[in-house]
Symmetry: C2
Subunit: 220 residues, 2 copies
């Protein structure tokens, strides 16, 4: 199990029992998440932008328009704090104070590098499509040279990173267990619904497996 | 319809058609979201922390331990960028380039004020509980003086703010509509599962309505 070296800012201080520093835990959260929230400084003030993310080995990738202000700022050296959060449940306790949320989150600090090598860039874009919809890359039209140029792909090393999580039932104060109030967890999950065909699709076009029965990881 | 005055940083520049500046749209997104990602500067670097949020009138509230580094930094004047994101669907297009995500997001810039008036603070905490589980506040034990002191509540004015959203089917390049590939939207939603009673609950304790049949807004 690869254990991440803690830094002052990745060590979980509030409720340290919730901190996790092993790559298996961190990678599982990153691989399940569809989006990350990227924090960076812009024009001298904090900014946060939600964006799709995917992992490849020891890097977390993001992408978008080559003209995106966030991507340009990160490419030009702005430091990033990337946060990924999965919510697993509402924790309903017997006291207001002990209500909580079950969750798994990752916080990654670092600077991004632009992926400019064409082979590496197309491989990264394929990885993203395959994460969301396995098998789709070979069915669709790939990027033409203009689209390829209009897309920026950045990678942030998974190095200064930690995870934090809560799971399980509420933890109430001992006397409160006698209170006549229901307590427990209401599970939360991101679910995927019945595929909605594009109205412009020829009738009878078969729905591919990757658009059906996707679990919350975007996988069959 | 209250229209928000745009500032340079709230005006949506990439894909400006996706920008929304009316309070009805912004409030609906904030009211549906359970968590926000708060960006701020900490020790001279960007930081992002996920935290529960709720709206009361013209303010967005967050709370947590009085010893939380994020809350202390914001209370002491750190500027915040708060982002709320709801994902509504995977947009599967005929070309890799036009794949997208249907989403609704809000970005709010501002500085927080601490809610110190006891009546205002308890009302805010009640509002949060009632957002997540309507009717629960009157069933549970409220905060005792020590818990009340150990909890910090901050409010950020909903003033410098905008929303951004995408909805509907993929928009493909005209020639690509002839490609023999399924295209459409796979809806995403946060769903709530069957309540899991705390193992320490006396058998037969009835499950309250607010733990059942919650929609993704945390409401019956």
């Amino acid at each position: 199990m690869t254990e991440i070296k803690k830094t002052d800012r990745t060590r979980v201080k509030r409720l340290p029992d919730r901190g996790r520093y092993d790559r298996a835990t961190i990678d599982a959260i990153l691989d399940e998440a569809l989006i990350a929230h990227v924090g960076f400084e812009f024009d001298g003030a904090p900014a946060v932008v939600p964006t799709a993310c995917w992992r490849g080995g020891d890097r977390l990738y993001i992408h978008g328009s080559s003209k995106s202000r966030m991507l340009m700022a990160l490419r030009d050296g702005a430091r990033a704090c990337v946060c990924v959060t999965l919510m697993d449940g509402l924790v309903l306790a017997r006291s207001a104070f002990h209500h909580s949320i079950n969750y798994r989150s990752v916080v990654l600090y670092g600077s991004a590098v632009e992926i400019t090598d064409p082979d590496e860039k197309i491989a990264a874009l394929k990885d993203f499509t395959e994460k969301v919809a396995p098998g789709r890359w070979d069915e669709i039209r790939g990027p033409d040279p203009q689209e390829f140029k209009a897309t920026m792909v950045l990678a942030i090393p998974i190095a200064e990173v930690s995870a934090k999580m809560r799971s399980g039932p509420p933890i109430d104060d001992e006397p409160d267990y006698a209170l006549p109030v229901w307590a427990g967890v209401v599970p939360l999950a991101q679910s995927m619904g019945e595929p909605e065909p594009d109205p412009k699709l020829p009738p009878g076009t078969p729905v591919p497996d990757h658009a059906r029965h996707l679990d919350r990881m975007g996988r069959r």
